[in-house]
C-alpha cells in the first residue's frame, strides 16, 4: 500500500515537472516604428536577455520583442 502510494505520488510529480527550453524569433522596433526581424532564433536565457536588454545598433538601444504576436 505505502509503496503504491509512493509511486503514484512520484508519477504525479514527474507529470508536472517537465520543462523544456523554448526558442523564438525576435524583432526590434526600428527608428521609424517599423518591425525589423533579427536573424535566426533565440532560445531560453539568450532570448530573455535580448528582450530585457534590447538590440544595440549604432550605440542606440532598440526595444526587442520575441515570440509571435
Amino acid at each position: 500500500m505505502k509503496t503504491k502510494m509512493f509511486f503514484a505520488a512520484a508519477l504525479l510529480m514527474a507529470s508536472v515537472a517537465c520543462n523544456k527550453e523554448e526558442c523564438f524569433e525576435c524583432h526590434y522596433d526600428g527608428p521609424n516604428g517599423e518591425e525589423v526581424e533579427l536573424d535566426g532564433e533565440y532560445c531560453g536565457d539568450a532570448a530573455e536577455d535580448l528582450e530585457n536588454t534590447g538590440y544595440v545598433m549604432d550605440s542606440i538601444v532598440y526595444t526587442v520583442h520575441c515570440g509571435e504576436h
Partner: protein, 737 residues
C-alpha cells in the same frame, strides 16, 4: 429493503428493492463524514471494516433508486426501504440529501454530478453549471469562463473547493474559474446570500466543488477520461488512480488539456482563443476511532490566449479572425498557476457533538504577457491562508446547532518586473463568526442563522475596515404521499465589502476589453433576498417553481462612461441605492406512463435588474443575462443490456433578446442553440462509457450577452462535434491491509 448490522468494528448488511424484494447489486454504501465507501455484491450484501465513532451518517445510493441518508449509531440494526426514483436520473438535481453543503435542511441547493454529466459533455465546470436554471456564464471565449448566478458574478460568487474558499483573482472580467473539471465529482450551487455558515459576502451565490471520492474500502481503481471536440481541435485528458485500505485512502490524478483557436460559424478562426492546461491532484484520507483526516492538494498551470486584444480605437471584428488554426501560445496570453492545499480534521466527541477543523492555503499567480514574451505586463501573486473551526451539536433528532469561527489572511503582491499594476500591493484580513440553529417543529423545518464579519484592507494608499452583520431565516414543509410536495421560503441578507479592484482600479483589462476605474469611497453593498420555492413530484411528473426578489443598497456597479482610453471603452465602479433584482426559475419534467424511458424536461429562468430611481433616475443594470428557455428530450435505451446505447438527448436552448440594458450597453439579439448527445455503455468489471454528439448543431452565429467579446462583435464557436471516453478499471487489493 436494506438492513445492516454493526458487529464489533464491522458494518454489514444487505440492500434490496422495496417493491420486489430483489437484492440491489452495485449500490454505493458510504460513511459520508469519513469518505469510506463500499459497493453491494450481486446478492445485495456489503461489509465495511474499521474503528468507527459512535454515531455516523450512512448514505445508500444506486443509479435508478432514491438516495437514502441514515443516521446510525454503532451497532444498531436499521431497516431501510429503497424505492425506484426516475427523477434521480436527472442531470441537475435540487436539494438532494447527498450534498456536501452543511447547515440547513431548508435552503434550496442545486446539485450536479460532474463525473456523470456525459450526455452533452461540457468542456468546463462553468459550462456544466449552466445546466442549472438561473446559472449562465460570463466568458471571453468558451474556455475561460466563470458562473453568473441570478445575474451576479465575479466577487459576488464565492467558490469553495473541498471546504476551502478559493481566491483566484475572480474579480477580473478576464479571469476564469481556473479549476479543471477532471477528477471532480460534484458541484453544488446556492443562489443568492443564503450560505451564511460559509461566508457573508456571497451576495450572488455560492459554488461548492468536491473532488471525486476515494475507492471502495480495500480496493483500487483507475479512471481514464479523454475528450475531444472539433471546433478547437481540443482534447482534455485525465488519469485518476485511487487506492483504499482499511484506514488509509489516497487518490492521485494527472490532467492535461490542449485547445487550439476555435472555429467560428463563418468557418474562420478566432485568433488567440487557445488554451493549454497541465495539472495534478493528490488526496489522502485516514480515520481511526474518533478522528478523521482528509488532505487535498491541487496544482494547475494554464496558458490562456487573450482573444480580441487590440490597440485600435474602432477595431473591426474581422481583424481578429484568421484563416488558420494555431495551438502554440503567442502574444498576448495569460499564465495562471494555482496551488490549493487544505487539511480537514473531524473529531467525533460523542454521539451529540462533533468538531471540524480546516487549515487551508492557496497560491495564485496570474501573469499577462502583452508585448513581451518574458516581461509580463501584469504579474499578480495572491496568497490566501485560512483556518476554521466548526462545532456541531445535535442534542436530539429535532434540534441542530452549528457554530464556527473562520479567519482568512490574504496578500496581493505585484511582481517586480510587471509593467503595469491593476491593483496595488495590499493585505486583507477577514474574521467571521456564525451560528446556525435548525429545528423541526411538528414537520415544519426551521432554520435561523446569524453571522458577524469584519474585513480589514491595508495598502500603501488605502486602509479600510468593514464590519458587517447578516442574518437568514428559512422554513420548509414537505407533504409525502403518492406525490411529494415541498414548500420553502428564505429571507436572508448578505453584505460584501468592496474589493481592491473596485476601490483602486486604474488600468486596462485586455481580456475584458475595457479600461476600469475604481472609487475609494465605496462602502459595503447590502443585499436582502426573499426566495420562495415550490416543488411537486409524483411517479410521472415533477414541477419546480422558484420566484425570488433581491433588494440592494450600495450596489457596486461597473458602468460604462462616455470615454475611451488606449482604444478601450472606460468603465467606472459606482454605488447605487435602491436596486431591485428579481426573477423566476421554473422547471417541468414529464415521462409518460406508457414508456418510462422517455423524459421531457423544460426549464425557464430569467433575471431582471433595475435601479428603481429612489435616489437618482431609474435605469436598468449592466451585465444582466438573457432569459433562457431550455428543453430536453432524453431517451434511455437498452437499460439492462451489458452493451448498447444508454441514452440519447436532444437539447434546445432559446436565449431571449436582452434589451433591458444599462444606458451605454448594447442590446443582444435572441438565438437558438441545438445540441445532440448520445451515450453508450459497456458494463463489465472494467466498464467503458462512450459519449458523442454535437454542440451548436445548427451552426448558429450568436453573441452571448455576458461575453467580454460582445463589444467587438465576436461570435461564439460554431458547430462542434465531440466524443468522450471513460474507462474504469477496479479491483480488490491483494494484501487487504
Amino acid at each position: 429493503m436494506s438492513g445492516y448490522m454493526c458487529f464489533a468494528q464491522q458494518l454489514f448488511g444487505v440492500v434490496t428493492d422495496g417493491l420486489n424484494r430483489e437484492p440491489i447489486p452495485g449500490a454505493k454504501i458510504e460513511l459520508k463524514e469519513l469518505q469510506v465507501a463500499t459497493y453491494t455484491k450481486n446478492d445485495g450484501s456489503f461489509s465495511l471494516e474499521g474503528d468507527w465513532p459512535e454515531k455516523l451518517t450512512l448514505q445508500v445510493s444506486s443509479a435508478t433508486y432514491e438516495s437514502k441518508v441514515l443516521s446510525i449509531s454503532c451497532c444498531d440494526l436499521i431497516e431501510v426501504v429503497l424505492y425506484s426514483d426516475p427523477h434521480n436520473m436527472e442531470e441537475v438535481m435540487v436539494r438532494v440529501e447527498r450534498r456536501e453543503l452543511q447547515g440547513s435542511m431548508t435552503q434550496k441547493t442545486d446539485y450536479i454530478e460532474l463525473d456523470k454529466l456525459n450526455v452533452i459533455s461540457p468542456m468546463t465546470i462553468t459550462e456544466a453549471l449552466t445546466q442549472i436554471d438561473g446559472v449562465q456564464m460570463a466568458s471571453y471565449g468558451p474556455l475561460n469562463a466563470k458562473p453568473v448566478i441570478r445575474g451576479m458574478q465575479g466577487m459576488r460568487v464565492v467558490t469553495f473547493l473541498n471546504g476551502m474558499r478559493i481566491n483566484n483573482q475572480q474579480w477580473g472580467g478576464d479571469h476564469g474559474l481556473g479549476i479543471s473539471q477532471a477528477g471532480m465529482e460534484s458541484a453544488e450551487v446556492i443562489k443568492g446570500p443564503m450560505s451564511l455558515i460559509y461566508t457573508g459576502d456571497a451576495t450572488g451565490g455560492l459554488l461548492y466543488l468536491k473532488d471525486g471520492s476515494f475507492a471502495a474500502q480495500n480496493s483500487y481503481s483507475v479512471d481514464v477520461n479523454t475528450q475531444f471536440e472539433t471546433a478547437s481541435l481540443g482534447s482534455q485528458n485525465s488519469v485518476v488512480y485511487k487506492l483504499s485500505g482499511k484506514k488509509l485512502r489516497m487518490s492521485a490524478a494527472g490532467i492535461f488539456s490542449s485547445y487550439a483557436d476555435y472555429k467560428l460559424p463563418n468557418g474562420r478562426f478566432l485568433s488567440d482563443s487557445r488554451m493549454q492546461d497541465l495539472g495534478g491532484k493528490f488526496k489522502l484520507g485516514y480515520n481511526s476511532g474518533k478522528w478523521n483526516f482528509v488532505l487535498n492538494y491541487l496544482y494547475s498551470n494554464s496558458t490562456v490566449g487573450i482573444p480580441g486584444h487590440t490597440h485600435d480605437v474602432n477595431p473591426l471584428a474581422e481583424s481578429f479572425m484568421v484563416d488558420y488554426q494555431e495551438r502554440d501560445y503567442s502574444l498576448p496570453h495569460q499564465k495562471i498557476e494555482n496551488h490549493f492545499g487544505n487539511i480537514k480534521a473531524s473529531y467525533f466527541i460523542n454521539s451529540k457533538n462533533k468538531m471540524e477543523f480546516y487549515v487551508n492555503h492557496g497560491y495564485n499567480n496570474l501573469a499577462e504577457y502583452a508585448e513581451k514574451i518574458f516581461t509580463p505586463a501584469i504579474d499578480m501573486y495572491l496568497n490566501s491562508s485560512s483556518v476554521q473551526a466548526r462545532h456541531h451539536w445535535n442534542p436530539n433528532k429535532r434540534l441542530q446547532l452549528l457554530s464556527g469561527i473562520q479567519t482568512i489572511l490574504e496578500t496581493n503582491d505585484n511582481g517586480l518586473d510587471a509593467e503595469e499594476r491593476l491593483i496595488e500591493d495590499s493585505d486583507q484580513y477577514d474574521l467571521g463568526l456564525y451560528s446556525s440553529l435548525s429545528y423541526d417543529l411538528k414537520g415544519v423545518k426551521l432554520n435561523a442563522v446569524l453571522r458577524f464579519d469584519n474585513r480589514s484592507i491595508r495598502s500603501a494608499d488605502f486602509s479600510g475596515d468593514y464590519p458587517n452583520v447578516n442574518a437568514a431565516f428559512g422554513l420548509r414543509k414537505q407533504w409525502e404521499g403518492e406525490s411529494i410536495k415541498d414548500l420553502s421560503a428564505h429571507l436572508s441578507s448578505g453584505t460584501r465589502a468592496p474589493f481592491l479592484s473596485e476601490l483602486l482600479s486604474d488600468g486596462a483589462h485586455h481580456g475584458a476589453v475595457r479600461y476600469e476605474l475604481g472609487d475609494q469611497n465605496l462602502k459595503s453593498e447590502r443585499f436582502v433576498q426573499l426566495d420562495i420555492n415550490y416543488e411537486f413530484s409524483n411517479e410521472h411528473f415533477s414541477l419546480m417553481f422558484n420566484p425570488y426578489a433581491t433588494y440592494a443598497n450600495g450596489y457596486i456597479q461597473l458602468a460604462q462612461v462616455d470615454s475611451v482610453v488606449d482604444g478601450m471603452e472606460v468603465y467606472e465602479y459606482a454605488a447605487k441605492d435602491g436596486v431591485l433584482l428579481y426573477g423566476l426559475e421554473t422547471r417541468v419534467h414529464y415521462h409518460p406512463h406508457f414508456d418510462h424511458r422517455i423524459h421531457f424536461e423544460t426549464g425557464y429562468s430569467n433575471t431582471f435588474g433595475r435601479d428603481l430611481g429612489i435616489v437618482q433616475s431609474g435605469e436598468d443594470l449592466y451585465f444582466m443575462p438573457q432569459a433562457r428557455l431550455r428543453s430536453n428530450v432524453r431517451i434511455e435505451l437498452f437499460k439492462n443490456k451489458a452493451f448498447g446505447f444508454a441514452s440519447v438527448i436532444v437539447q434546445h436552448n432559446y436565449f431571449f433578446n436582452q434589451d433591458r440594458v444599462g444606458p451605454l450597453e448594447t442590446a443582444t439579439d435572441a438565438y437558438h442553440l441545438l445540441q445532440l448527445g448520445c451515450q453508450m455503455k459497456w458494463d463489465s468489471n472494467s466498464p467503458v462509457q462512450l459519449s458523442f454528439g454535437v454542440r451548436n448543431a445548427l451552426n448558429t452565429s450568436y453573441i452571448n450577452h455576458m461575453s467580454s467579446l460582445k463589444s467587438l462583435g465576436l461570435k461564439e464557436p460554431g458547430r462542434s462535434f465531440y466524443f468522450n471516453l471513460k474507462w474504469n478499471i477496479n479491483g480488490r487489493n491483494q494484501s487487504n491491509k
